[in-house]
């Protein structure tokens, strides 16, 4: 449901595409993701032929994998586009490694072929998913059994420090500066997940544009009140 404050008379807002930065420098390391970052940093000294990065939506799986992809010159595909991915791989014998984002949304038979292809070329496969493959409901056994041989690194729920950084980053991606007081105010009142951080920032951004008001504590209080 969208808060009422968003539906009243307001200025028309354009949804501009936001630039998402995918550099390693942009990645904040905290206790909830430090293991995953460790894995990426240790490449190319990986002992096995890939890595599974799991975590809730918005936890930075794609960001982290993109860092690896750039370092390793791997091909990269969204889970729902891997048929094209398989074609690219089969057409380019020189491509060894591959990154599949949202592998839990991928056609499993095609992903199975991609896994075999990458391993037979001595490359590495990085996949992201919300849950580890061992827990995928109705997974293709041939695929799941192969993916289970990869190390799994899990990004945990954000702690308060992480939430603060995530909110700050999301606001700054939208060219918004929000004071620390306001961030603290938000954090103790929101659900503590990456997903809800995204929702909070989006809602506040739209509301502040529509009403031409800065994001201050009184303003946040009003928006939150509409919520509950």
């Amino acid at each position: 449901m969208s808060p009422k404050i968003l539906q009243k008379n307001r200025q028309f807002t354009l949804k501009l595409p936001r630039r998402a930065a995918f550099g390693k420098e942009e990645f904040f390391v905290s206790s909830c993701n430090s293991r995953a970052v460790d894995w990426i940093d240790r490449w190319p000294k990986w002992p096995l032929h890939g890595l599974v990065i799991c975590g809730p939506p918005g936890s930075g799986k794609t960001h982290l994998s993109a860092v690896w992809q750039a370092r390793s010159n791997a091909a990269g595909f969204k889970g729902n586009e891997i048929l094209q991915g398989l074609e690219v791989l089969l057409n380019n014998e020189s491509l060894k490694s591959c990154f599949v984002d949202d592998a839990d949304c991928a056609d499993q038979e095609i992903l199975f072929h991609i896994f075999n292809c990458v391993v037979s070329r001595g490359g590495q496969l990085v996949v992201t998913a919300v849950e580890p493959p061992a827990r995928w409901a109705q997974g293709l056994p041939d695929l799941v059994s192969r993916l289970k041989t990869l190390p799994v690194t899990q990004i945990e729920r954000p702690n308060d420090e992480m939430l603060q950084v995530v909110l700050m980053k999301m606001f700054s991606d939208r060219q918004l500066t929000v004071s620390l007081d306001v961030l603290t105010y938000i954090i103790v009142r929101m659900d503590r997940s990456f997903d809800s951080a995204r929702y909070v920032v989006e809602t506040l951004d739209v509301a502040s544009l529509s009403y031409q008001r800065a994001i201050t504590i009184p303003f946040v209080r009003e928006v939150f009140k509409e919520w509950t």
Binding site: L83, L86, N91, E93, H113, S120, P132, L150, R157, V188
Partner: protein, 465 residues
């Protein structure tokens, strides 16, 4: 897929055609190959349908082209032609592989392909690489796999095909691919003159589709003519792809008739292969059909011990015992689990213990991570401190109930994603500042009182399952 600017009546017909196709080919094939089709126009008896890639176009035409036309004619007798053309998807923000040239023509126009037709006919390209670790020496033999192993050795040691074909089948991860690679490696060493071709199912499928594209199935078949040993892995994936099966059948017959050895693997015996023609199924069963059964505890122990010796690492016997008792699904996962444990230990520079082993394999050992609720936390904490559940919500401020309540609030913050105001509400409508105070209080007490800290940690572990 949204089909823009098409008359609703036509859209309806299209939906019907797709529905028929879906019921004919099954959901999986439909999702992979037919769902991405977009109806662009129906004009002057010509149906125009776009697909995102050239490969897909070829596949759709070769497998579903005729049927697509028939179904359209049923819906609309005026239709005399169905044109499937490539329209690359609009570029997404997603990163393309580095150094990957984009070959896309102007949208809406057939794109030309930049590879030469001859390319698909080189046997070196069609051969999938062999993994040298998959040799006979590394294959641990036990009751469940001794028949398959013996058969594979016979084939690899024989000058002429002892049984044709050799059909190896068994569940996922039990060693079919290992045996196939071993046969190839051994044959190459023993009979260097023999021409060995090993195909994974996706290679076979892909190269065959290319050959169809250039109407070049003759030279596709030609490249198998001189082959002495042909091996196809995971043949069940050729299921339901009719013209690939047809081609496979002919290639297969020709080789067997000429006394060339054929080795095929699948996840079930020939008679159970669904979506495969009867004559092909029966033909596959003509030679020797050898199965690999699930592992036994003895075999698992032996496999792990052999693997440990090979890796040259120090692993406590408790870990070996644990793995062979707990990872019972198949050999691949068993070895994979051991590899993961060793990899983790090397990476962080720690010894391998039962605890690290359980931690690393967390995803496999536990079917799911329990999502703890605030109610569960309240119940468990109340029981632990021997207070009534109602006291979690009551206004009583006596230490005996206030402290457990604070612990429960602290754990609610640690173990759930609920907001602090919501946690407060679940504790008898308290304010979020009360929750913050409780969290701070518990953190302080944990520092000063080790007994208390242990209590809290114990509760946490119990709740996490």
């Amino acid at each position: 897929m949204a089909d823009q600017n098409v008359d609703p009546a036509v859209t309806q017909r299209w939906a019907k055609v797709r529905g028929m196709l879906r019921s004919e080919v099954g959901d999986a094939s439909y999702r992979s190959w037919l769902k991405p089709l977009t109806l662009v126009s129906v004009e002057n008896g010509k149906v125009r349908i776009s697909v995102p890639t050239q490969f897909m176009r070829d596949w759709v035409i070769s497998h579903y082209g005729d049927r697509l036309r028939e179904l359209w004619v049923n819906e609309n007798p005026d239709v005399d032609m169905v044109d499937v053309f490539v329209q690359p998807p609009t570029p997404k923000k997603f990163v393309r592989p580095v150094g990957q040239a984009r070959h896309s023509g102007p949208s809406g126009i057939n794109t030309s392909v930049s590879v030469s037709p001859k390319e698909g006919v080189d046997t070196n390209r069609i051969n999938a690489p062999l993994d040298t670790r998959f040799n006979f020496k590394n294959f641990i033999v036990g009751k469940p796999n001794e028949l398959a192993y013996a058969a594979a050795r016979r084939v690899a040691d024989s000058e002429v095909a002892p049984f044709n074909p050799l059909f190896l089948y068994g569940g996922v991860g039990l060693g079919k691919t290992h045996l196939i690679h071993a046969i190839a490696l051994h044959t190459k060493k023993r009979f260097p003159k023999k021409k060995v071709v090993y195909l994974s199912a996706e290679k076979f499928m892909y190269h065959f589709v290319r050959a169809l594209r250039y109407k070049d199935t003759v030279s596709f078949k030609d490249q198998f003519r001189s082959v002495d040993l042909l091996m196809i892995d995971d043949v069940q994936f050729i299921n339901g792809k009719e013209s690939t099966q047809e081609e496979f059948f002919h290639t297969f017959n020709e080789l067997v008739d000429n006394q060339r050895q054929v080795v095929v693997s699948a996840d079930k015996p020939p008679s159970d292969l669904e979506g495969m023609e009867e004559r092909l199924r029966s033909r596959l069963g003509w030679g020797l059909v050898a199965d690999i059964q699930s592992t036994t505890l003895d075999l698992r122990l032996e496999i792990i011990e052999a693997k440990v010796a090979k890796l040259g690492v120090e692993i406590p016997s408790s870990v070996i015992d644990f793995l062979s008792h707990r990872i019972t699904s198949n050999v691949r996962e068993l070895e994979g689990a051991l590899n993961r444990v060793v990899a983790h230990a090397t990476l962080v520079g720690r010894d391998i213990t039962l605890e690290t082993c359980q931690e690393v394999l967390h995803d496999i050992l536990r079917a799911n991570d329990r999502r703890v609720t605030i109610e569960e936390i309240q119940k468990r904490v109340a029981a632990h401190f021997n207070i009534r559940l109602a006291d979690m919500h009551s206004a009583r401020r006596a230490r005996a109930v206030a402290r457990p309540r604070q612990v429960a609030m602290y754990l609610s913050k640690q173990l759930t994603a609920r907001s602090l105001p919501e946690i407060g509400r679940k504790f008898g409508g308290r304010d979020h500042t009360t929750v913050m105070h409780a969290v701070k209080k518990v953190e302080e007490l944990r520092q000063s009182d080790t007994g208390f800290a242990e209590d809290v940690d114990l509760l946490r572990r119990l709740l996490e399952g």
